[in-house]
């Protein structure tokens, strides 16, 4: 699943980032958007999504939203979220 399928204000774990530009993948990494990290969908706007990554809000277009694969909350092992500030 990707961001477009997410429920609002629910924590998901990033499984993979599959952008066609390698640079974009590296850039997302520096923001803390990489496999294993958490991401929360804040709102859906026309052709745009607002997400929370490491306590910051970003708007990303649907193109990029589709490139970020997530894991459903139910599939998340509770231990992997331990210690994170929520």
């Amino acid at each position: 699943m990707n961001i477009s399928d997410c429920e609002l204000h629910t924590e998901y774990l990033i499984v993979s980032v599959m952008t066609t530009e390698e640079d974009m993948k590296d850039f997302l990494f520096t923001l803390g958007c990489y496999p294993g990290e958490r991401i929360v969908l804040i709102s859906r706007l026309p052709s745009m999504y607002v997400v929370d990554i490491k306590n910051s809000r970003y708007s990303i277009d649907d193109n990029l939203a589709r490139a970020i694969c997530l894991r459903e909350p139910g599939c998340v092992a509770p231990s992997s979220l331990e210690g994170r500030v929520v």
Partner: protein, 668 residues
């Protein structure tokens, strides 16, 4: 001692730089305001030591691996120009991301001092940070700062920390990150950076406590829902832009301009009286009509420009700019640009130079170059006097003239974007991501500072470039080629008239084939304010603003009679000046941002063609609708316009073949 200011975008680096040096560099509430490095000494009230401290403000960066070109400036500076100390500005509300860059900066061996900025916001957000523990873990001083405040802002302690660390002369120890080494492969680097984030996460867990979950729905999110609404997004943007321009051009600006021109008139009379009747008429005309009249005609519009900059500063400070980018993204994608292209365009409504430079935050090369080419189509502050003058003379100060020029600019940009996309044959898709800063109530103080700074720059420009240009124009129109004074009865024999007349021929199909207009259009390339100045000098109209009637232009029918053209030709001239290439300084900026002579010359030719064809259409169609017949020079203009349009169509077809070819290759 050179001190680099480095940190994540929108962490407040330039605000801190301004506060620590007393400078007035551009600030704004969106990531990517600063796109070049700037230097300044720490002001004497903060630096009590003997050593001179120079601070270098750098563009924001998320890491040492630059994504866009302005981030490279930061990386290159800290790596290659080895500053003595790095002030790493960390947004206190966002430790978990900011410390990633911090850990990379610490590996350079240069002493690091952390300025934990926006410390006032952490109380509001109920975040507790153990500064001492953070300093102990990182092995460098951590100072809480609030750079937006003038007192108790922590800047004194920051400078003290800098002095102390400079005396210690110790190398910064890096954080211990598993596997960290130089010359790592890409895969190794990825693993190292993952480990780096793990270390950062551990540090944050130890030093920070948050009571409020950042991912909850906030009031700010509700505003976003409204301003980025599917149907309301664009109307809200239009209303905001309309307010900014209407206040400066129709309401507050003209009123202030009127008061101001009263003073200039007073000054004119004072100088006239002081000179008496004994001064040579040539010198008296040069001083009164050429210098005071010409410069005064331009400076009279200063209040309009000041109000515009005040309004723009409020807009830039509010946090709305980043939202405009996200609202416009889906529309701009259709013309081959990105939402980020709107920011350079809005900045260009103040001045095209910072607007063009703001394109550095756009990653895609074609989008960046196209934006640098199209941003100057937005009427800049210097074009405001031209708009105000023509709206006043020909359209009875109607507010719609000014506002419609901005909307016409948007239409021209959309059309040009589509054309350029076809010419380049580039259909590559790009991603859009932008950090959303929090909205805040714009600071009136910051807006006033920005406004006064722009006013100062404008007055300096008026007193130098514009003054010299007006004096030259006055001299050139006073003498003929035999250096004899040209009588008032035969102004067409002057040097200026003989130089500008051949050009005026080209403008006949546009409705203003008069040498004075040609001369003004040419001096406009030096600085757009010159257009009004040159018109004032060549038509001997000393000021355009009426002090008695609180109207923008002195007896508009009189000025119209002197100009010798009608309203349609006036509108055509306005359009020509707005949509031909910008001033030389802005062209210089285009050159450095495009990094391609082919693109630069293509852009200038395109802008010239666009200005000519639009102007031709306005004049000829306008004349056709109002009089039932085409205007003068229709056939010549039509041929010229058709040649230009055909060439563009030819280039577009060539570009389309490239698209088909690349699609075929992909399919194969």
């Amino acid at each position: 001692m050179r001190i680099a200011l480095a940190g994540n975008p929108n962490s407040g680096k330039t605000t801190l730089f301004n506060a620590i040096t007393g400078k007035v560099e551009r600030v704004g509430n969106w990531p990517g305001v600063t796109v070049e490095k700037k230097e300044g000494p720490v002001k004497a009230s903060l630096n009590r030591g003997k050593k001179k401290m120079t601070v270098v403000d750098l563009p924001g960066a998320y890491s040492m691996s630059p994504y866009t070109s302005e981030e490279s400036i930061t990386r290159d500076f800290v790596q290659k120009e080895s500053p003595d100390i790095i002030i790493n500005i960390v947004d206190a509300t966002n430790l978990s991301r900011s410390l990633f860059f911090t850990s990379q900066l610490m590996e350079l061996g240069i002493p690091v001092v952390i300025a934990l900025n926006k410390s006032d916001l952490i109380q509001k957000k109920e975040i507790i940070i153990d500064t001492e523990l953070l300093s102990e873990i990182l092995g460098c001083p951590v100072v809480r700062t609030i750079s937006t405040k003038t007192t108790n802002n922590g800047l004194g302690s920051l400078v003290e920390a800098l002095q102390k660390i400079s005396n210690e002369k110790k190398k910064q120890q890096p954080l211990r990150i598993k596997g960290a080494k130089t010359n790592a492969t890409k895969e190794e680097m990825e693993q190292i950076d993952k480990n780096r984030f793990s270390v950062v996460n551990e540090i944050v867990e130890r030093v920070e406590r948050r009571k409020i979950d950042t991912s909850r729905h906030t009031f700010q999110d509700r505003i976003d829902k409204l301003v980025a609404h599917k149907w309301l997004g664009i109307p809200i943007f239009a209303v905001i832009i309309w307010l900014v321009f209407s206040l400066s051009q129709s309401w507050v600006g003209p009123w202030l301009a009127d008061v101001f021109v009263g003073w200039i008139d007073g000054f004119y009379s004072l100088v006239e009286r002081a000179m008496g009747g004994n001064v040579s008429p040539v010198l008296s005309t040069l001083l009164l009509d050429g210098i005071i009249g010409g410069v005064g005609a331009v400076v009279g519009f200063l209040p309009l420009i000041m109000v515009l900059f005040f309004m723009l500063a409020l807009l830039e400070d509010s946090g709305y700019m980043a939202r405009v980018a996200l609202v416009m993204d889906r529309y701009f994608k259709k013309i081959g640009l990105s939402g980020k292209s709107i920011i350079p365009m809005i900045v260009s409504t103040g001045c095209a130079i910072p607007g063009i430079m703001a394109t550095r935050t756009i990653k895609n090369e074609r989008q960046r170059r196209t934006t640098a080419m199209l941003a100057p189509f937005m009427p800049c502050g210097a074009k405001l006097p031209i708009i105000a003058l023509f709206a006043g003379v020909f359209f009875g100060d109607n507010a719609w003239v000014g506002t419609s020029m901005y909307f016409l600019a948007i239409i021209v940009i959309i059309l040009s974007g589509l054309i350029i996309r076809r010419i380049t044959g580039d259909t590559s898709k790009s991603y859009f991501i932008m950090e959303l800063p929090e909205y805040r109530i714009p600071s009136v103080k910051r807006a006033v500072i920005s406004m006064l700074n722009r006013a100062k720059a404008f007055i300096i420009k008026a007193g130098t470039i514009i003054l010299i240009c007006n004096a030259i124009v006055q001299i050139l129109q006073t003498f003929n080629w035999q250096f004899q004074v040209v009588g008032q009865s035969a102004p067409d024999t002057s040097i200026l008239a003989s130089l500008a007349t051949p050009l005026a021929w080209i403008f006949i199909p546009l409705g203003f084939g008069i040498w004075q207009f040609a001369a003004a259009a040419i001096t406009g390339f030096i600085a757009k304010e010159n257009v009004v100045g040159t018109l004032a000098v060549t038509f001997a109209v000393t000021n355009f603003i009426n002090v008695e009637e609180f109207a923008l232009v002195t007896g508009s029918t009189d000025v119209m009679a002197v100009f010798g053209i009608g309203a349609i030709a006036g509108l055509s001239y306005l359009v020509f000046n707005l949509f031909t290439p910008p001033c030389f300084a802005a062209i210089g900026s285009m050159n450095s941002e495009m990094e391609s002579p082919k693109w630069l010359w293509g852009a200038i030719t395109f802008q010239l063609g666009m200005g000519y064809v639009l102007s031709f259409l306005v004049y000829q169609l306008g004349t056709l609708f109002t009089t039932g017949a085409f205007g003068a020079g229709f056939l010549g203009g039509l041929i010229a316009s058709l040649v230009m349009i055909s060439y563009v169509v030819f280039l577009m077809r060539k570009g389309s073949t490239r698209i088909i070819k690349s699609v075929n290759e992909e399919v194969a």
